[in-house]
Symmetry: C2
Subunit: 260 residues, 2 copies
């Protein structure tokens, strides 16, 4: 039974619901529930348990770190509530959730749907602000750099990311995935108002990989490195080569795609 293999999958008489969730990560200690502190998972679970009057297990596509935001995080959980149509579950939950955590969509999923294991593509965005002095209303949603950025240089540096690579170089030391191979479908910088935005889409990411990539690309750009440097760093599979990890507040889990 799939419900044994993946706890939280539905059994007869229950429905497996899929939610799209957005949050301002500023006042959350990341996604994952922990013994102490406010997390997205614990806040969402508390609202679901108020509704269900029994424990509810929630699975998320991406386990974002403290301070990281989400626009299109996807989660699933099994419900035995039959009085609320799946499409209205988001509205009902939003009544119980704080304003920095919103359910933007809810729908019934197949019984075997799992938000994490079934995700085919994840898209992250990272906001970079170029400014000599901080911009207060953007401070919690961007990483500020002092030096001007050259978009075409950034994109030349990032180009070797596309394709299937072993990302050991850009994994956090505590990364536990058995394989460090991921396929990157797109990775590019564009200008958006005052911000320079890095958008990366891949089948999956190692822990802190996006922030490590952004920090490294910014460092390479500042050193005016050529476009082959990142390729060489990937091939070396050596964590000591990378630049600083960019801070969490610039990062947004933007979108998660599934086969439908």
């Amino acid at each position: 039974m799939l419900s044994v293999k993946y706890p939280g999958r539905s059994t007869m008489g229950e429905r497996n619901l899929r939610l799209t969730v957005a949050y301002d990560g500023t006042h959350f200690l990341g996604w994952q529930a922990q013994a102490k502190g406010r997390t997205v998972q614990s806040t969402l679970t508390a609202a679901l348990e108020r509704m269900h009057h029994h424990p509810v297990v929630v699975h998320a596509a991406g386990r974002t770190d403290s301070g990281v935001h989400a626009i299109g995080q996807v989660v699933n959980f099994v419900t035995d509530i039959d009085s609320i149509p799946a499409e209205r579950m988001g509205l009902a939950l939003n009544q119980l959730l704080p304003m920095d955590l919103r359910v933007s969509d809810s729908a019934e999923a197949k019984p075997e749907f799992h938000a994490r294991f079934d995700a085919r593509r994840r898209t992250y965005r990272y906001n970079i602000l170029t400014a000599p002095v901080g911009v207060p209303h953007l401070r919690l949603y961007s990483h500020r750099v002092l030096h001007q950025l050259d978009l075409s240089l950034l994109n030349r540096i990032a180009a070797p990311l596309i394709g299937e690579h072993d990302f050991t170089t850009f994994a956090a030391p505590s990364e536990s995935s058995p394989s460090k191979v991921r396929e990157v479908y797109s990775a590019a910088f564009h200008a958006e108002g005052q911000l320079t935005v890095f958008t990366i889409c891949a089948n999956g990411f190692l822990w802190r990989m996006v922030r490590s990539l952004v920090g490294t690309i910014l460092k390479l750009a500042q050193q005016n490195e050529c476009s082959d440097t990142l390729r060489a760093m990937l091939e070396a599979q050596d964590r000591s080569l990378v630049g600083p990890t960019a801070p969490p507040q610039g990062l947004f889990l933007y979108k998660v795609d599934y086969d439908e």
Copy 2:
């Protein structure tokens, strides 16, 4: 003497400094110092007084309300500190200020310069988000509306604002300006990413005028009113005609211009 007429103007041996100031209005009870509570003026004055060891009077171009943000607020104050070049005063002050209040520029001004009385043009921006569910990271920096917005309809409705008008209709009941006549140089809506932004530039504004205009234009757009309605409302000089006042968190004091 000008220094008598406008307390805070400089006398011999002192310099009149002009600062450009940005703030996230979320945790400020507006610009104006008051008996209790954290305001931008009191926070800035406290930093200046720590630096000067005596009272300092600060004048601002626009006295923003609680929750309203600023990107280019302009202030001036007279300093007797001669050890810090005017251009470095911003850096020095930022060491003493919280991260939600930043000085982005500092320069010496003419002795008679007054940030409020000398301002020729003020530009405000108002962010509107069209979304069925709140977007957490934008919730403190935009006003959310549920219905779709038609940019060209909004701009047709707003067009009669351009020019010199008596804005009594859009003044707060407690507005104390003897004249309600202001000249609007530009007023238009444009799309910016997920946001619809209203930008309005005028020689001056009555209290809550921008928020009253935005609330009214949104209401007229929803009722699909024609472009003459706002003109008729202006001419009526009747406050009872206006729509709801749009909330503060969408409003930014964007820019203040002076004759140079």
